[in-house]
Symmetry: C2
Subunit: 194 residues, 2 copies
């Protein structure tokens, strides 16, 4: 399956690359990187990633969105939010990590859905997006075709959960072993619950 | 402190970006990315990263090297190995993740040192580099100013261990909490021991 990963200035490094590692290592997914304008986009921890223009992303099977300090600027960018809403409707699966869920919430993707986000921003999420059923204790949440995780490293656990759902539990466990990763495989086991 | 991160085609995504996340999130380190030729270098899982030429890397405080499938081609690249040996001598700290240790071993950096590597490549490490004291059970190993970790996600635990040693345990624990990361903080606790 193809993965359309959307980046923006100040995205959180591990939000994106934990899932990209696991999806890629499973052998079942190929990720391409996009941003609104294309070109080099730099993470909050200084990783400069080459991206294609978001207009060139068509029919994503898996849409993947990180969080990070850069989220708050993107919430005010109407053309980004509009394009995100369009792509979310076309995607087979819609994934976000950390406060990336704020962007889906702004785009209307999470209206009436169960969701979670970065625990240190949960109060703000509840204030800004009361139409979403935010959960304060969850490593990740699956609601229909939407997967949203808690902060940063929770995205890696969610990615393995997603692989298990789509490709089978064996594939996820093999991928975790390959990466010498101790997978927290229970989405309800949240060591960082509010 | 500045971190000189060395990339090559086919590096393993999480080997590099787990440590970069933790080092950056601690607020104590700034990472720059280099490769032998400069330009865009793509990870084994498809992440295209913009890099500077390795010749422009001077006096690294922290030298950081990932592993990955791309390691085996670099072992045969004499100019890369020579430059790596030079930079390792100048660096205050020398770090590698996974089979990145093969490159330091080839460059003579690990002669007579205790070290570990990706568990699925331990036999090969012992055959190729008998001058290194390889350890079959270790999440990571510290020998003097050299830090080497086991496979892929072990690098993230090692990075937090390195932060603890250099900046204090509180800083490492705060960084792990920030990233909602359950840190395996004991280098001898190796769930993937040979």
């Amino acid at each position: 399956m193809n993965v359309t990963a959307i980046l923006f200035e100040g995205f959180e490094t591990l939000d994106m690359f934990g899932p990209v590692e696991m999806l890629g290592a499973s052998g079942q997914f190929e990720t391409k990187f996009y941003s609104l304008e294309g070109g080099v986009v730099t993470s909050h921890q200084g990783v400069p990633v080459q991206t294609e223009m978001l207009d060139e992303a068509h029919e994503p099977e898996v849409l993947l969105l990180p969080g990070g300090m850069g989220v708050y600027a993107m919430l005010e960018d109407d053309s980004f939010i509009e394009r995100l809403a369009e792509l979310s409707k076309k995607a087979t699966y819609v994934l976000s990590v950390c406060n990336g869920a704020f962007l889906y919430a702004r785009a209307g993707v999470l209206d009436g859905c169960r969701a979670t986000t970065y625990k240190a921003r949960m109060d703000r999420a509840e204030e800004m997006f009361p139409q979403v059923k935010w959960e304060r204790s969850a490593r990740w949440i699956v609601d229909g075709n939407i997967y949203v995780s808690s902060g940063v490293s929770a995205g890696t656990d969610m990615a393995l959960g997603f692989i298990a759902d789509v490709c089978g539990r064996d594939c996820a466990e093999k991928t975790a072993r390959y990466a010498e990763y101790t997978w927290n495989s229970n989405p309800e086991n949240d060591p960082f619950a509010c």
